[in-house]
């Protein structure tokens, strides 16, 4: 099976590199976008198995990226996992209600993040 490609979107380069290195360690192909605008450009040009997206970013935040994905006829069922320092209940609920497949709070437990990503991808494979 070809390696699944995951898009990591985070304006904090260190976090993006950490998540990317974790995913590469487990044989995923990873592309990194440093903001929402860059992410949407990459989504037009590449095919991804899922998106791991930060919430608070310049230009377009995670909610905006999520909405753009859900409203796009080609991408609307692309799994999105939100990662954020915002741990308030209303942010988590809003993220899930806007269509995120999962929500992880920073600082995150890397193994837990990986498990959640694997679960989302397994669910996607099962559906398709």
């Amino acid at each position: 099976m070809a390696h699944e490609q995951i898009l990591v979107v985070d304006d904090d380069a260190l976090t993006a590199r950490f998540i990317a290195s974790l995913l590469r360690e487990y044989d995923y192909d990873v592309l990194v976008a440093q903001d929402g605008v860059h992410a949407l450009e990459l989504l037009k040009r590449h095919e991804f198995a899922m998106v791991v997206c930060d919430l608070v970013m310049p230009y377009r935040d995670g909610f905006s990226v999520l909405r753009a994905i859900r409203q796009n006829i080609k991408l609307h069922d692309l799994p999105v996992l939100l990662v954020s320092m915002r741990d308030r209940e209303e942010d988590i609920v809003r993220g899930l209600e806007e269509g995120a497949d999962d929500y992880v709070i920073k600082p995150f437990n890397a193994r837990e993040l990986l498990a959640r990503i694997r679960k989302i991808l397994a669910r996607k494979r099962k559906v398709s």
Binding site: L14, F18, S21, E25, K106, P107, R111
Partner: protein, 407 residues
């Protein structure tokens, strides 16, 4: 003379030339250093992260032959950057790498430095290193002569996050500055339930400020098991302790303390009455509505304010109680009740009911609004008589309001 001037000009030019050259050389050297560090970081970071994600015990194996002691600074920065961003196994492995590379030993030495900023920096890094070896040295640093070092040591102990470090940290609640006490209390709150046993144990030996901070901490951590201890504190002879204990009980929200809270509405000290009223509101204890209605006539503004807010927080039953108080003989109770009804949107609702199709609803609404008009607190009604979207409501309100007010 001319010759001298020429020499002076040459000398000054020479000095400028030398200074410019020094600046350029220094900048070039710094940029080269930064480029070297960035290049080494780019090479080393993936290796370190790969080791962090794996199971290999020794971090040096991650670098193989490709490691020189001059890389220590770069590696330290990589480890410190990432250790703040993750939790769990990965964080433990980053901390383990810091220990294996001798960085933790360096920070422990740094705590004894003569330079205070080095001590402060070392304390902060020890917090990030999460090593249990740091608990004793950091605890000693809580007595440092420099305030900044003490605070960073406190923060570091908070980051170590276990009961042993909480025990050491509690002492810092005795800091003479109130601001420091608040910061330390925040750190202990951040440690959650692990700090609770330690702060309770330390309570008798703390200053009054420290004791008040402990009551805030247990209230914010919200462990129901602390309720009996807090109830005991509500019997303290100090007004501040009693008041803060009731506040904490309201935050925890254990309904078993309802009788104590109701009784506290009759305490001889107003801060205790005020906090008891606030707690009853937070817990929405509707059986306390009669006492809260009585507290609306309290001689102290703060008690009336909290009682009003408590009634408002209780939903329909509380709002009915407030409606009954708009014709109260006590002018302060009346004003507080009307203010709460306005804030809750009840005055607007009743105004809209003036044109309700049901005659009972119209009668109830009119009766309440007439009482409000009679009280003289007609600010909101005047606004509605001008701006309500329904013309019939505006007309009814204008008819209720005295002519000079309606105009």
């Amino acid at each position: 003379m001319q010759q001298v001037l020429i020499w002076i000009i040459f000398a000054i030019s020479g000095i400028f030339l030398v200074l410019t050259t020094l600046i350029i050389v220094n900048k070039a050297w710094r940029e080269t250093q930064e480029a070297t560090i960035a290049r080494r970081r780019k090479e080393l970071e993936p290796k370190i992260l790969s080791w962090v994600h794996g199971d290999e015990k020794t971090v040096r194996k991650a670098f193989g032959e490709n490691f020189s002691t001059s890389d220590t600074g770069v590696i330290e920065q990589i480890l410190l950057d990432h250790v703040q961003r993750v939790r769990g196994i990965e964080r433990d492995r980053l901390a383990q790498a810091m220990d294996q590379l001798g960085l933790v030993d360096g920070y422990l030495d740094g705590l004894n430095s003569r330079r205070w900023w080095r001590r402060a920096e070392s304390a902060e890094k020890l917090g990030l290193s999460t090593t249990k070896r740091a608990i004793q040295p950091l605890s000693r640093a809580l007595d440092d002569e420099i305030h900044e070092v003490r605070l960073r040591a406190a923060k570091a102990l908070g980051m170590l996050g276990d009961a042993a470090s909480a025990l050491k940290l509690v002492r810092a609640l005795n800091e003479p500055s109130r601001w420091s006490t608040i910061r330390v209390a925040d750190i202990l709150i951040g440690m959650g339930h692990k700090s609770v046993d330690a702060v309770i144990e330390a309570f008798p030996g703390l200053t009054r400020e420290g004791q008040l901070a402990v009551l805030d901490i247990v209230g914010r951590v919200r462990l129901v098991s602390v309720t009996p201890w807090l109830v005991e504190k509500t019997k303290d002879e100090s007004t501040d302790i009693r008041a803060r204990a009731f506040h904490a009980l309201g935050s925890i929200g254990d309904p078993s303390v309802t009788p104590e809270l109701q009784a506290a509405l009759n305490d001889k000290e107003w801060p205790v009455r005020a906090m008891a009223a606030k707690a009853l509101g937070r817990m929405r204890i509707t059986e306390a509505i009669p006492q809260l209605a009585k507290a609306l006539r309290d001689e102290q503004w703060w008690v009336r304010h909290n009682a009003g807010r408590a009634l408002r927080a209780m939903g329909p039953l509380g709002l009915y109680a407030l409606e009954r108080l708009v014709a109260d003989g006590d002018v302060f109770a009346r004003e507080q009740a009307i203010l709460m009804l306005e804030e809750a949107g009840r005055v607007d609702e009743r105004a809209a009911e003036l044109v309700h199709e049901g005659p009972d609803e119209r009668r109830v609404a009119k009766s309440l609004l007439e009482k409000i008009v009679a009280s003289g607190t007609t600010g909101r009604l005047r606004v509605l008589s001008r701006e309500h979207p329904v013309a019939d409501v505006r007309r009814e309100l204008s008819a209720l309001l005295p002519e000079e007010v309606a105009s």
